[in-house]
Amino acid sequence: MFRRTVAVALTAVAALAVAACGSNEVPASSTAGPAGTVTVFAAASLTGAFTQLGKDFEAAHPGVKVVFNFAGSSALAQQINSGAPADVFASAAPKNMDQVTGKGTATTFVKNKLEIAVPKGNPGKVTGLKDFADKDKKIAVCAVQVPCGAAAKKVFDATGIVAQPDSLEQDVKAALTKVSLGEVDAALVYKTDVLAAKSKVEGIEFPEADKAINDYPIATLTKAKNPDGAKAFVDYVLSAQGKAVLTAAGFDAP
């Protein structure tokens, strides 16, 4: 009997606790503005900047929670078209944005360009883009399906350099990881990635990077479960505060 009383009491306490948590997260429905959870699918290269933006956005809109899915833009586009529950899509290239069906107007919010990333101390003695044609150096570039790979191909095509990669990575962060672990002598990543990992990698700028500038479009999705939240998040990214965070991360204004 005693045991049962305890159990009932515990259940009641637990129920109260759950109710209390719930009331914290969901604001009264009378307040205007976004609420609930906003699901944002964003290009891997946006990981650092958007994580920060998400925190700022949550602080500016109490009661709203932002959930991110960072991956290669092509994988994200595929997931969205297969019915993944996304409210907002931020792509690293217009091409992958175009692949997505059922979206609002896409707005370009930043630009990014490629940079050579080498491990700290540059053990492979990489000096420029021509080293990517060196068979003896370990090289990683992104697979051509993802925006950083498409941009890399554009650069190599424009310069006539025949790259000899040892691995075609499935997103830019995977390529960057191979550099920060010292597994490759160089990888072609975005300027912003080098900045984000500056304790572990060094960046080498190269003039040919201007031949492949990536436009980053962002759009709300028509199947969004939280259209208000989606719009508010996109507005926040395009706002002055949003721009400040993105510029600090190394992105260029569109």
Binding site: G72, S74, A75, A77, Q78, K138, A140, A143, Q145, V146, P165, D166, S167, L168, E169, Q170, K178, L181, G182, E183, V184
Partner: protein
């Protein structure tokens, strides 16, 4: 081997077991049927014989087979040690052997990078002394696959060893056979079905390996892009190709498992 395997329970199957059982069967089969239903059959042959698919398939078969050979070479003695030798903390060792079985393969890939990578504990020495590094090589794919697949072999062989009657080995010993001779001529033939079953499981697991491979060996067509990696990348640009690749992988797995199951694995029961 014994009639135990063909034992049947008389009477009707209770509905409370039958329904979830059928649901479970459907759950396992429907996705595979969906794959077959969606396959672009009319263009399948032309896609199938494209250079990319052939290359990935060849590499997959080669790497899975090499990984299985490596697992047999290392795994059978390990299983023998676990089953027969007087080991302190054998339970713990056995538990450790099965860790890669439950570990997410990507974690396995990261662990391999940290140990065998160019800056890894052992990899750094390999690179320094022999100018050889495993990541981004076909050998790296084999290592990654073997790491993930070996527990299947070890568990299977150890089970067979424990089930085998040790009296034959004792008899061989009393007749003057050394331990190695006994192992080779008495133990190994008696556990052969278990070894083959383990090798098949190990091979199938290696064939499907994705996470550890892409993490440790990267992705380069012809060198490290195995079928699962090709499927994943194709899905992002041309889902039809991904389906074709998947159908091929499915067919290979089913054919191999079916052939070997009838002939060997049934002997285990």
């Amino acid at each position: 081997m014994s009639p135990r395997g063909s034992r049947r329970i008389g009477g009707r199957v209770p509905l409370i077991l039958l329904l979830p059982a059928l649901l479970g069967l459907a759950f396992l089969l429907v996705p595979l049927l969906g794959l077959l239903a969606q396959a672009p059959w009319s263009t399948l042959p032309s896609r199938l014989f494209s250079a990319d698919v052939g290359q990935a398939l060849k590499l997959s078969l080669l790497c899975a087979s090499a990984a299985t050979a490596l697992c047999l070479f290392l795994g059978v003695p390990l299983a023998w040690l676990l089953a027969r030798a007087e080991l302190p903390g054998r339970g713990l060792i056995r538990a450790l052997v099965t860790v890669p079985l439950v570990l997410p393969p990507v974690v396995g890939g990261v662990a391999l990078l940290l140990v065998l990578g160019r800056r890894g504990l052992i990899g750094e020495r390999l690179d320094l002394w022999f100018g050889f590094s495993l990541p981004f090589t076909t050998a790296g794919v084999i290592v990654a696959e073997a790491f993930v697949a070996m527990p299947f072999l070890v568990i299977s062989v150890e089970g067979a060893l424990r089930a085998a009657d040790p009296r034959y080995e004792e008899a061989a010993a009393t007749l003057g056979a050394g331990r190695w001779l006994t192992f080779r001529r008495v133990t190994l033939p008696s556990i052969a079905p278990g070894v083959v079953a383990g090798a098949v499981l190990c091979w199938a697991r290696a064939l499907g390996e994705f996470g550890a491979t892409i993490t440790f060996a990267g992705n380069l067509p012809g060198r490290t892009t195995t079928m699962p990696l090709a499927v994943y990348l194709a899905l992002e640009t041309d889902p039809d190709v991904a389906v074709v690749l998947s159908v091929v992988l499915l067919a290979v797995s089913v054919v191999v498992l079916a052939c070997l199951r009838e002939r060997w694995i049934s002997g285990l029961r």
